[in-house]
């Protein structure tokens, strides 16, 4: 079985069907992009892979573990060991500084280690913004804090939902280069949702979704 394995996943909401039977496998260490029009179910799929949401039907296996078999707290534990998230809105705790936001993830994982948190922020180029609150940071800087936070506990998977959606081209390139560098150093698996072709082409493989299904699966060579 592949590292990430999604089997016939259906997600129905009261008012809409977001996923109509999705099958996909991702090898370990791959960088996969998911593209598709708005409302095609990309975010829903990503949230289900990360265990933030549960499918109506079908199952998700990560590293051989059936997410559907985990209790809520077991899921939380699994998530903090294995998965890092980056969202479009930066989703930082507004009253905490950069370094405290990163340390929050450490706290949930095990114990806090300020030196390690500072080091992680240095790696994303924010050594000079350690004690700023999110409101004092630019959008690109906020996303870099999120990346530092997502990677602080050395996850095996990074799930990113439109991480550059709110950024200009220059900041987008910065973020992608940063991700590329970290990916090549640490070999975590990336699943990145976007509708921007400039962003999607940084991946090694491109999945296209439409109306709750994957309609195209192509390799990319960069």
């Amino acid at each position: 079985m592949e590292f990430i394995s999604v089997k016939d996943v259906v997600k129905e909401y009261e008012t809409a069907v977001a996923l109509r039977g999705v099958d996909m496998d991702v090898e370990k260490g791959r960088w996969v992009s998911i593209v598709g029009p708005s409302g095609s179910g990309k975010s829903t799929l990503l949230n289900i892979i990360g265990g933030l949401d549960s499918p109506t039907k079908g199952s998700v296996f990560i590293d051989g573990v059936d997410l559907g078999s985990l209790s809520e707290d077991a899921m939380a534990r699994f998530r903090r060991e294995n998965i890092g998230f980056v969202f479009q809105q930066s989703h930082l705790v507004p009253y905490l500084t950069s370094v405290e936001n990163v340390m929050l993830a450490q706290y949930f994982h095990s114990i806090t280690d300020e030196a390690e948190a500072v080091e992680a922020l240095n790696r994303v180029g924010l050594g000079h913004r350690l004690h700023h609150r999110p409101s004092q940071l630019s959008g690109g800087e906020q996303q870099r804090v999120c990346i530092a936070r997502a990677l602080i506990n050395s996850p095996k998977i990074l799930l990113a939902d439109e991480p550059t959606g709110n950024l200009d081209r220059e900041n987008t390139r910065l973020i992608l280069e940063l991700l590329k560098k970290l990916h090549s150093e640490e070999h975590f698996t990336i699943i990145l949702v976007t509708h921007d072709p400039f962003v999607s082409k940084w991946a090694e493989r491109l999945l296209t979704m439409e109306d709750g299904r994957i309609i195209k699966d192509e390799p990319l060579y960069c």
Partner: protein
């Protein structure tokens, strides 16, 4: 949130302060019901059969202020009851004459202060129109005065001796048929110097509990000591009996029991009110907490998405509640100090004691409110699905 915790704490702490003080205050007020112990000569053996009269000694009275519970003796009055003939103009009647003190300052042995004794300290409701009797005057019960057609200021003969009627007494009891004299005058008239037939005592007591009803005769030494040194009406009576020669002291049960009941109910009421106020505060804390958590659902969702389990999230929000509780507790304590002072002045006309000891009580109740009030909303908020809140744009 701090406000609701503070209010709850203030109310609870005030009530607890009041309940500590209120018993003392109220039982003092209740002493207006009058005497709760009577001391009479012990009657036994041949004296009883022969119907021979026995007396207590007037000089023993002051000894009531030497017993272990002397500070609880709030009032005391002697009575000498004898038969006499009253005559007014051509009317004659056999009546009971009573010698007593209406109000008398007794010098306390070995102290510079005096102790106010007399009828006014054991039967404050006695209503005298006119003046209290002196060496040459008497006070008549209202029914007797009406029956014989006597008015204040007129002269009557008691056993042939003339006295001016200085006042008319009405109590609604048997006193309305009697004639009241100064104790000394009555003793002289009857040739019974230094004799008293009954002493009434008004004492502050501890409400009777199960232990108090045990028969002292069957108690172990230790139990007896405990009983003796607790201010039960029975143990105070026992101590009075010991200082009055040849006496028998008995609680006036209906008074003692009514008082005990009133106090008992009062404390139950206060406890209920305290519990209710804590509960109300917890509820109001809980609604505000719920509202605030609702605004912070995305924070919770975020925490979950970065791997927080419910326990660690609960700890974060509970420690917030803890801080709120501490602040609310301090504010509430400050408020309660004011409230208690105000109530003390309004209701009892006296400043109730401030108790620094109550600060921990205030803090504990505040924390209780905060914890109770936030547990439920936190649990509910934890059920949020992270995906839902994270997808919605802020």
């Amino acid at each position: 949130m701090v406000v609701s915790v503070a209010m709850g704490t203030a109310i609870a702490t005030s009530l607890i302060t009041l309940s500590l003080d209120i018993k003392g205050k109220v039982s003092r007020e209740l002493r207006a019901f009058g005497a709760n112990i009577t001391i009479e000569p012990k009657v036994e053996g041949f004296a009883d059969i022969a119907g021979q009269k026995r007396y207590l000694r007037e000089k023993d009275i002051i000894k009531a202020k030497t017993i272990f519970w002397r500070h609880n003796i709030l009032g005391i009055a002697p009575f000498l009851e004898e038969k006499a003939k009253i005559s007014f103009q051509d009317r004659k009647k056999d009546v009971t004459i009573v010698g007593t003190w209406f109000e008398k300052e007794l010098p306390l042995p070995g102290e510079k202060t005096t102790f106010r004794a007399g009828v006014s300290t054991v039967s404050p409701w006695w209503d005298i129109k006119g003046r209290t009797p002196d060496k040459s005057s008497v006070v008549l019960g209202v029914s007797l005065a009406e029956e014989l057609g006597i008015k204040q200021g007129e002269e009557v003969l008691l056993d042939g001796k003339p006295y001016v009627v200085s006042g008319i007494l009405s109590t609604g009891g048997k006193e309305d048929e009697q004639v009241f004299l100064d104790l000394d005058v009555a003793q002289e008239l009857k040739g019974l110097e230094g004799a008293v037939s009954r002493v009434l005592v008004s004492a502050l007591t501890t409400p009777m509990d199960d232990f108090a009803y045990k028969d002292p005769a069957t108690m172990s030494r230790k139990e007896y000591e405990k009983w003796y040194c607790t201010g039960y009406v029975t143990s105070i009576a026992k101590q009075l009996e010991e200082v009055f020669k040849g006496s028998r002291a008995k609680p006036i049960w209906h008074v003692a029991e009514t008082e005990g009941n009133v106090l008992e109910r009062l404390s139950i009421l206060v406890y209920l009110l305290t519990a209710a106020s804590l509960l109300a505060a917890a509820l109001s804390m809980s609604t505000t907490m719920a509202a605030s958590l609702l605004r912070r659902l995305d924070e919770i969702g975020l925490m979950k998405s970065i791997g927080a389990d419910s326990f660690k999230i609960s700890i974060i929000f509970l420690s917030e509640a803890f801080i709120i509780g501490c602040v609310g507790g301090l504010v509430g304590y400050a408020i309660s100090v004011g409230v208690v002072k105000f109530i003390g002045l309004k209701v009892f006309g006296a400043v109730l004691e401030e108790r620094v000891l109550l600060l921990p009580v205030a803090l504990v109740s505040a924390l209780l409110i905060a914890a109770l009030g936030s547990l439920l909303p936190i649990r509910r908020a934890l059920r949020v699905k992270p995906a839902v809140v994270l997808k919605e744009a802020r």
